[in-house]
C-alpha cells in the first residue's frame, strides 16, 4: 500500500518519460490488485498468551 502510494506520487510528478510512466502504471495496477486481494483474503489471527495470570483462567 505504501509502495502504491509512492508510485502514484512518482507518476503525479509528471516529469518522467512516458515509457517509465507506463511501466510504473503497470506496476501500480499490479500492486493495487495485490492490495485488494490482501484485503479480500484477510483473516484475523488471534494469539493468546495466558501464561502470566493463570488464576484468571
Amino acid at each position: 500500500m505504501t509502495k502504491l502510494g509512492k508510485i502514484v506520487a512518482e507518476l503525479e510528478k509528471g516529469d518522467i518519460p512516458l515509457e517509465k510512466a507506463v511501466e510504473l502504471y503497470g506496476e501500480g495496477v499490479k500492486l493495487s490488485a495485490a492490495c485488494r486481494k490482501q484485503l479480500d483474503d484477510a483473516q484475523i489471527k488471534i494469539t493468546e498468551d495466558g501464561g502470566e495470570a493463570p488464576s484468571e483462567r
Binding site: G14, K45, T47
Partner: protein, 396 residues
C-alpha cells in the same frame, strides 16, 4: 526512700502508659508539622498539633511503607497509634500505625499526589504521545482473557480490520498483584512485536481501578516502545494509565476502533490511488500525443510532397493571376472597340440620311456639288431608307 535511676523512672512511666487503655490504640486528629522521613532507616518523625498543643509522633519504617500517600506539613490528618515513652529523652510520643488524610480518603489523596508527581515528571506530557500507526500488523491486547474486553476487541477488529494479528496477553486487572500483572502483560506484548497495545479491562467488573492507578503501570506505559491505548472503561475519572497512555478510549471496543483503520476506508484509499495513477498516466499520454502532433506537423511541413504541393499551389496562383490579367486586358480592348464602333456608327452617312439627308451619285460617284451635273444627267439618290433614280432638270 530508695534511690532509683532515670532509666528506671522512664521505663516505669512507659509501662504505666502502655497499660492505660485510654491511650493505646487511639485516633488523634491534628495538623502535621515538622514532617521528616529519615532517609536511611525509613522511619518518619513529625509533630501533630492543634490550636493549643502539640504531640510528637513517630512512624516506623515498616508502617510508613504501607502508607499510600506521603504526608506533608500542614496536612490535616487522623493518626492511629498508641502513646509510649521514648526512654532516652524521657519524652512521651505517639507511635503511629496509620495516617489518614482528613476530608479526602487516603486512596484519593494518594492518587492525587501520584498524579501530581507523575505530571511533574512529564509522564503525561502530550509531547510524548505517539501517533497510532496507520496500518498496524500486530495489535496487543493486555487484559483478562476471561473478560468481555478481549472478546469486544477481537470482534471489532475481525469486522473492521481483519488484516492484523491480535496478540492477547492475559493479565489480572484487579486484585492482588494486578498492577504487576498488567505491567508484565504490556512488556510481553511489546516484546512480541506488537505495533500498538491496548491495555484495559472490560465493563461489568467492579469499579476497582487501582491497578491502573499505580506508578509502575504509568512508567511501563510511558516507557513502552510502541503506542499504548488505554481502555479502562471508566467514564468519569481518568486513571493514571489513561493519562500516561498515548490515546485514551472509553471502552475496549472503542480502543479497538482507534487502534486500526476500517477496511472499507482501505478499499477506498486503493480506489483513489488507482484513479490518481490512471489520471496522471493519461495526462502523460495526452501531453506526449500533443507533442507528437506538433512535431509531426512541423515534419510534414518540410516533406518533399508538401513542397511540391506548395509550389504547385503557387503555380496555380500565378496562373490564375495571369488568366485574370489577360481577361481584363481583353475586356478593356473589347470595351475600347465597342466604343469606337459606336463613335464610328454616329459618323456613318447612313445615320445622317436617316435624319432626312440624301446622297446623290452620278456614275457611282458621290456628288457634293452640282458643278458636275448637267441638264438631263441621270443620278442615283440614296435615302435613309431606299433609293431612287432621277433626271436633272435644272441646276444652279
Amino acid at each position: 526512700m530508695a534511690v532509683i535511676t532515670v532509666s528506671q523512672i522512664n521505663r516505669y512511666i512507659g509501662s504505666i502508659l502502655k497499660s492505660d487503655r485510654n491511650i493505646q490504640g487511639v485516633m488523634v486528629r491534628g495538623e502535621v508539622i515538622d514532617y521528616v522521613k529519615h532517609y536511611r532507616s525509613g522511619h518518619v518523625y513529625f509533630t501533630l498539633k492543634d490550636s493549643e498543643s502539640s504531640l510528637k509522633a513517630v512512624m516506623f519504617a515498616n508502617a510508613a511503607a504501607r502508607l499510600r500517600f506521603e504526608p506533608e506539613d500542614g496536612m490535616s490528618v487522623i493518626v492511629s497509634g498508641s502513646i509510649g515513652v521514648y526512654e532516652r529523652d524521657g519524652a512521651y510520643q505517639l507511635y503511629v500505625n496509620d495516617i489518614i488524610p482528613e476530608g479526602a480518603g487516603a486512596a484519593g489523596a494518594a492518587l492525587e499526589q501520584l498524579k501530581n508527581k507523575l505530571a511533574k515528571e512529564g509522564i503525561f506530557d502530550t509531547a510524548h504521545k505517539r501517533p497510532i500507526p496507520p496500518m498496524p500488523r500486530k495489535i496487543g491486547a493486555v487484559t483478562s482473557l476471561s473478560g468481555a474486553a478481549v472478546r469486544d476487541i477481537i470482534n471489532v477488529l475481525s469486522r473492521r480490520y481483519p488484516l492484523c494479528e491480535v496478540y492477547a496477553v492475559n493479565a489480572l486487572v484487579q486484585g492482588e498483584g494486578a498492577a504487576d500483572s498488567v505491567c508484565r502483560g504490556i512488556l510481553k506484548a511489546e516484546a512480541a512485536g506488537c505495533d500498538v497495545i491496548i491495555v484495559g479491562r472490560g465493563g461489568g467488573s467492579s469499579e476497582d481501578l487501582s491497578a491502573f492507578n499505580t506508578e509502575k503501570v504509568a512508567y511501563v506505559v510511558y516507557n513502552c516502545k510502541v503506542p499504548v491505548i488505554s481502555a479502562v472503561g471508566h467514564e468519569t475519572d481518568y486513571t493514571i494509565a489513561d493519562l500516561a497512555a498515548d490515546l485514551r478510549a472509553p471502552t475496549p471496543s472503542a480502543a479497538a476502533e482507534l487502534s486500526a483503520p476500517d477496511i472499507s476506508s482501505l478499499y477506498e484509499k486503493i480506489g483513489i490511488m488507482e484513479r490518481r495513477a490512471e489520471r496522471s498516466v493519461l495526462a502523460q499520454f495526452d501531453k506526449a500525443s500533443d507533442r507528437f502532433i506538433a512535431l509531426n506537423a512541423r515534419l510534414t511541413a518540410q516533406s518533399p510532397e508538401n513542397r511540391v504541393r506548395l509550389t504547385a499551389e503557387r503555380l496555380t496562383g500565378l496562373e490564375k493571376r495571369r488568366e485574370t490579367a489577360f481577361a481584363r486586358y481583353f475586356e478593356r480592348l473589347e470595351h475600347q472597340l465597342s466604343e469606337r464602333i459606336a463613335r464610328l456608327d454616329s459618323l456613318s452617312p447612313l445615320k445622317v440620311l436617316s435624319r432626312g439627308y440624301s446622297l446623290v451619285y452620278k456614275d457611282d460617284k458621290l456628288l457634293n456639288t452640282s458643278d458636275e451635273l448637267d441638264k438631263g444627267d441621270k443620278v442615283r439618290i440614296t435615302f435613309g431608307s431606299g433609293g431612287a433614280e432621277a433626271e436633272i432638270t435644272d441646276k444652279w
